[in-house]
Symmetry: C6
Subunit: 71 residues, 6 copies
């Protein structure tokens, strides 16, 4: 199906790995905001990030500049 995740792509797989690892990541956004939290899921359009209170933020991939493990 057209909207299935392309799980053979490195970028998709690495995000999946970050979801499974449950470790903290930094997500830089086009607005220059930097969100910190744990990734819970992704689909073709969005990533879901949980903050320190386990509150979900649905981030549109179109607005993502980079994702990196929290240093």
């Amino acid at each position: 199906m057209a909207n299935e995740l392309e799980t053979q792509l490195p970028s998709v797989r690495q995000v999946q790995d970050l979801i499974k690892a449950g470790s903290e990541v930094e997500v830089k956004l086009s607005t220059t905001d930097l969100l910190v939290g744990k990734l819970r899921w992704q689909d073709n359009y969005c990533l879901c990030l949980l903050d320190h209170y386990d509150q979900p933020t649905i981030i549109w991939k179109q607005a993502i500049v980079y994702v990196k493990p929290k240093s």
Copy 2:
């Protein structure tokens, strides 16, 4: 049809859940504006947000950075 909502996607479903719940959300936009209100509907291009006076704002999805339940 090409323009039907892909309701099997988590991001689409979670927005649908937020619409049904009728609770307040924060919508961060590419202009860095943060709008607060209740989601009324979505299609492939837009979300509709009702402010405190029930006035609708048609938000283009292309401009959305993130959506989260109002904290």
Copy 3:
């Protein structure tokens, strides 16, 4: 045809309703500009807004953040 307006979509229809109503709207743009006027037409790429002197502005949809009735 590929470039016909998808008039069954809520967002397209609501913009059509705003065109027919002829009432004033606010259009927020990615540059953070806020234009005020009456919508005259839309196609898949653009909206046309008439200012107070009936001068047309062709706005690219890609630059639209939101549209709302003027409060």
Copy 4:
């Protein structure tokens, strides 16, 4: 062909009209720059604007916010 101009669209036609009229237009860009000049041609990706010295600027449509007759 896929890359032919969709000349039945109002936005494409109105830009064609502005090219034929040879009158001055203002082009607002995503960087917030406002360019003034005469439109010479368009294709699916770009507009060409001539400044007061008849020097051409190739503007990517992706960066256009709006086009309006110079007031």
Copy 5:
């Protein structure tokens, strides 16, 4: 092939002309940076610009606002 340059388009051809001419151009970017140099090649996604030390910069077309001959 889908990723061949659409060389019949005016915008693609004019960039090819600027490459052949080897004259200096100004490239305005979405970050508001203005790069100056000579164009060396283009494909569907990128332009390559050589600076005064002949160092290449690979510019993503998605980030281009305009290209003009250096005045």
Copy 6:
């Protein structure tokens, strides 16, 4: 497959060359951030950049303005 890298494109190949060379590059982002490091891999959506501590940053191509060898 639709999501295979188009390795015949100059831009894709030059990024591959930069990955193989293992030399430092500068990546300018839409947020105006400038990241410095070594490229490790690319796919259609992302580039992976290693910083001086070999920490990976997954950069979305949509946010890239330019890539150049570190001067």
